[in-house]
């Protein structure tokens, strides 16, 4: 065993990368759920974003354009969910699951000719002095732009929910859609916007996996990260900054267990591999002492009948 082989600076830097796709998708879903809609199709929207972003980046040579298209693709797929849940008022849980099934299949069809292709790289931001600083340099100042975007987005969503009128309306719609409707807010329109935002974020998260974190395209490559993102929203009790914390915690435990293995710590590997999930449950139990509840109208169907 050689614990000194674990470099905490690099550990933190890499857990930030591991956490980013989960964070992006979770922030999107958080907004969706704040509006009172439960979209279980995150995994499906992520993988569509992953292939759309990958294909665009390969064809155009621009990873940035890839991310833009990935967000658009995620939002486009979420339109199906919009149609089902907001127009024809179908059950949200089932619609979300259908979205995942559909997205996984469609992405595999679209991606057939992209297996084994290498995508263009996205440059990391290198700041002349800051990136070379000891300790904080690698952690804070030498990542790809999307990682910073994820953090900025978290802050923006947090501020939006807390301080703006838009955030207030969103929460009102999520808490009691009938009351919001009576006050004259367009419940359905607001929810549609939230769902599209969620789809775009999931698409971004998926593209982060296929363009930066891995980077390659293979069928089913999101491998359950969409589900983790869903879990994270609940874990964060619908608070953006907690989602950030949770994403880092989850990414951290995952990276940490691999570090412990490489350092030769004599804990059975399969139990180490379970640890991220067990720790999530543990933290969840601790956090559930905090009584901030789910949006009251979460998952309920709204129909403006009088």
């Amino acid at each position: 065993m050689d614990l000194s082989a674990i470099n905490p600076v690099l550990l933190i830097a890499s857990l930030m990368v591991a956490a980013t796709p989960i964070l992006l998708a979770a922030i999107g879903e958080l907004v969706v759920e704040k509006a009172g809609v439960l979209n279980l199709g995150v995994e499906g929207m992520m993988i569509i974003g992953a292939i759309a972003g990958f294909a665009t980046a390969v064809e155009s040579g621009s990873p940035t354009l890839g991310f833009v298209v990935a967000a658009a693709a995620g939002a486009a797929l979420s339109l199906l969910f919009v149609f089902l849940t907001q127009v024809v008022l179908a059950n949200q849980v089932a619609s979300g699951l259908a979205l995942t099934l559909f997205g996984l299949g469609l992405s595999a069809l679209l991606g057939q000719s992209y297996v084994g292709v290498r995508p263009p790289e996205m440059a990391q931001i290198q700041l002349p002095v800051l990136s070379d600083l000891p300790f904080v340099g690698p952690i804070l100042f030498s990542h790809d732009p999307v990682l910073y975007f994820g953090i900025a987005l978290t802050a923006a969503v947090g501020a939006m929910l807390k301080f703006t009128r838009g955030g207030l309306i969103l929460r009102a719609v999520g808490e009691n859609h009938d009351a919001a409707h009576a006050l004259g807010y367009k419940v359905v329109r607001i929810r549609i916007l939230a769902i599209l935002f969620g789809g775009a974020c999931a698409g971004l998260g998926g593209a982060y996996i296929s363009l930066i974190r891995v980077p390659q395209w293979t069928e089913g490559m999101t491998a359950g990260i969409g589900w983790i993102a869903l879990a994270l929203v609940v874990f964060a009790s619908w608070k953006p900054w907690r989602a950030l914390l949770g994403a880092y915690l989850f990414g951290g435990v995952t990276v940490m267990q691999l570090n412990l293995q490489a350092a030769g710590v004599a804990i059975p590997v399969e139990y180490l591999a379970m640890s991220p999930y067990l720790i999530t449950i543990l933290v969840l139990v601790i956090l559930s002492a905090d009584k901030s509840r789910a949006p009251a109208a979460l998952g309920r169907i709204f129909h403006a009948s009088r």
Partner: protein, 357 residues
């Protein structure tokens, strides 16, 4: 019991009947455990299928079903292929072993080929590749290339196949570089590109400057490239898009020669049940081009080893070798028998850590 045998007979007759119709064309079925787009294990089997099509053209018809779960699903898919008149069926995952035997019993006139298993019957052959020979070549290059004397190894599951590869790589790395050390990380998954990427990064952060992988995605290659000074090897497919550096060579699963030969045997009517375990010599294990990032003398040494392994003059597990606990395994000059290799569940002396149980 009566009804069962009745149905089995009905199935057989029908199977025979359809085979009769398709006399002019030999029908070859492939059952895949993953998607053909996985870029690794299943992808390479499908390349083998395509080679069969290219070789025989109109004389054969190939069919495949991908993403077939082990267990009852695989049994159903095999039965369906046999009912539809397949003459030869390749089942390409270890977990298909018992289903293959079950279905083969019902269709004595259909030939089955099961990859990586150990159960055979009159109409069931098994085949597998001696990937550990490729690992020996990799280990030699890796031992020379490492500057930190730390080699990282990403394992999937602790099964004999993977353990054999680790041992073989270690023995040959140690031979050329006595100070070498292996850091082994078990991903506990066959397929999770994100996790593989993390595993590679962790190994690199802990000082490894050569990464060997027994998982199929290119994620570790990309991680090595980002690090800048880390050497990798392609796994399952050539992964040439990451050459000439970090990917300096590769092990390629090449099933094409075997699939063509076995299909030919069915066409000729000479097929018989065999247990094939081929390596570099028969072309089942390919060594991808060694790039110029490897010094010329190292490259020559690696190629010489490859030749020796191919001709059979050298065995990758040649004594003196001890097990990890220090007990004697192979005496000087003694080579490992296939039985021990097939079920290898121990590390050789010098490797650290325990194999997860």
């Amino acid at each position: 019991m009566k009804l069962k045998s009745l149905l089995a007979t009905a199935a057989m007759t029908l199977g025979l009947a359809t085979t009769g119709y398709a006399e002019d064309k030999t029908k070859v079925g492939f059952v895949y455990v993953g998607p053909v787009g996985d870029g690794g294990w299943t992808y390479e089997h499908d390349q083998g299928r395509k080679a069969v099509v290219a070789e025989f053209g109109d004389k054969v018809e190939t069919v495949y079903v991908e993403n077939v779960a082990e267990g009852p699903d695989s049994e159903r898919v095999m039965t369906q292929m046999a009912l539809d008149g397949a003459d030869l069926i390749f089942t390409t995952s270890f977990g298909y072993m018992d289903p293959t035997i079950n279905v083969a019993k019902k269709f004595p006139n259909v030939k089955f080929e099961h990859a990586t298993g150990y159960k055979r019957a009159d109409n069931v052959s098994t085949y597998s590749a001696r990937f550990y020979e490729g690992r020996a070549v990799q280990g030699t290059i890796a031992g020379h290339m490492t500057k930190t004397n730390t080699i990282g190894y990403i394992g999937s599951f602790p099964i004999p196949e993977v353990i054999r590869g680790i041992n073989s790589a270690y023995i040959h790395a140690k031979k050329v570089n006595p100070d070498v050390e292996f850091k082994i990380v078990w991903a506990f998954t066959w397929f999770d590109p994100a996790k593989e990427a993390d595993a590679a990064k962790v190994l690199i952060e802990q000082g490894a400057d050569v990464i060997l992988q027994h998982t199929d995605s290119t994620a570790p290659q990309a991680a090595a490239q980002a690090a800048g000074n880390v050497v990798t090897f392609g796994q399952a497919s050539d992964m040439a898009e990451y050459g000439p550096f970090p990917r300096v060579s590769s092990i390629i699963d090449d099933w094409a020669p075997y699939y063509i030969a076995r299909t030919q045997a069915v066409i000729d009517g000479t097929w018989s049940s065999v247990d094939t375990w081929d390596g570099i010599g028969a072309g089942m294990v390919g060594i991808g081009e060694i790039s110029d990032a490897v010094p010329a003398d190292v490259k020559a040494e690696a190629l010489a080893l490859k030749e020796a392994l191919a001709s059979g003059e050298y065995h990758a597990f040649t004594g003196p070798l001890n097990k990890q606990d220090g007990s004697a395994w192979l005496a000087d000059g003694e080579t490992a028998d296939d039985g021990t290799l097939a079920g290898m569940t121990f590390y050789v002396e010098g490797l650290d850590g325990d194999i997860p149980q």
